[in-house]
Symmetry: C2
Subunit: 201 residues, 2 copies
């Protein structure tokens, strides 16, 4: 049994996952971010090895063939994958590990790490989601429509998530995730024998 | 399905349950304390209807016969019981309800309310527990020994608890329980249909 703890953050594009993630890593420096591999193009400001490992389709599939991914899937024509080795190493070291994975990738990961904590981040409304997606300007109109069309599908997975956080105000959403991570650190992990020994009873 | 949430706080005598409970109720006024019935004598400063409903053995057993208790049991010669009606009403109103129940009472309650959150409060060491028990001066030496002899039995139930909090520093223990209660408020309760409707997707 690994000593660490997985926290998976999912949500529709535009829910604010990247912004929340950056704030979380600043506020809880002990939290390790599992950087995903992707074949999509970097957006302005995104750094290789920090936001994603940006790789070619060929490299991605070669890594998959070598069994490197704990989960991977394809969304909007791009591959995304989580490194099994990086994840397992962090868990073995007893770290809290944060992952940003879409709902289908999260489903795959949950089968392999059922003890993970799964958090779904949602926008306050469809209107606000549209506003954010158009506002960030990283997708053309067809791509925005494609993302909006997938939202109902994504939210359909809510029942598999442990926690649901509405990202209306960023600071409250970040505080919510931090609260969940901190609460999880109190989760009972000791056996009765361990406890009796530890407290010298 | 009730809308509220049960939080059960258990722990050996001297772990600091009463002090933690009082701090919790001050810091989170929305939290409702489920006042237990007991046949034990009030300690100095304890108020009827606030800390416990202090009743005679005859009254306790009469109430039990009328099915009034969601759980009850006998410890150190005294009866303790949780009012089913008070608990259910608070839950129906969507309240967060705090209960202070010993490990066996908690076990009974967990069978009836498996969705409850169960928190075990433990002292930092056996020595510190002894010091606190003798320091509070509410039990004679024989009673202190009786309580100490039961601690290993009580800690043996740790596996049934969701969270384990060591009450070394009071403010940290209180903050831990508050964090757990707050995190629980983000627990996914909406169905996919509810969510889609709420966010107008």
């Amino acid at each position: 049994m690994s000593k660490g703890q997985i926290f998976v953050l999912s949500g529709p594009p535009g829910a604010g996952k990247s912004t929340v993630r950056q704030a979380l890593l600043e506020k809880r420096p002990s939290l390790i971010y599992s950087v995903s591999f992707t074949t999509r193009q970097p957006r302005a400001g995104e750094r290789d090895g920090v936001d994603y490992y940006f790789v070619t389709r060929e490299e991605f599939l070669a890594r998959h063939k070598q069994g490197e991914f704990a989960e991977y899937n394809q969304i909007f024509g791009n591959y995304y994958g989580t490194s099994r080795k990086t994840l397992q190493e962090a868990l073995d070291q007893g770290k809290e590990v944060l992952l940003d994975i879409d709902v289908d990738g999260a489903a795959i990961l949950k089968m392999k790490f059922p003890g993970g904590v799964f958090i779904l981040l949602v926008p306050p409304s469809r209107q606000e989601l549209e506003r954010r997606l158009r506002g960030r300007g990283t997708e053309d109109e067809a791509q925005v429509e494609e993302r909006l069309a997938r939202v109902a599908y994504e939210l359909g997975s809510v029942g598999g998530y442990d926690y649901l956080i509405c990202n209306d105000r960023l600071d409250e959403a970040v505080d919510g995730v931090l609260t969940i991570i901190k609460a999880e650190s109190y989760r009972t992990k000791l056996s009765a024998d361990d406890l009796l020994q530890q407290f010298a009873f």
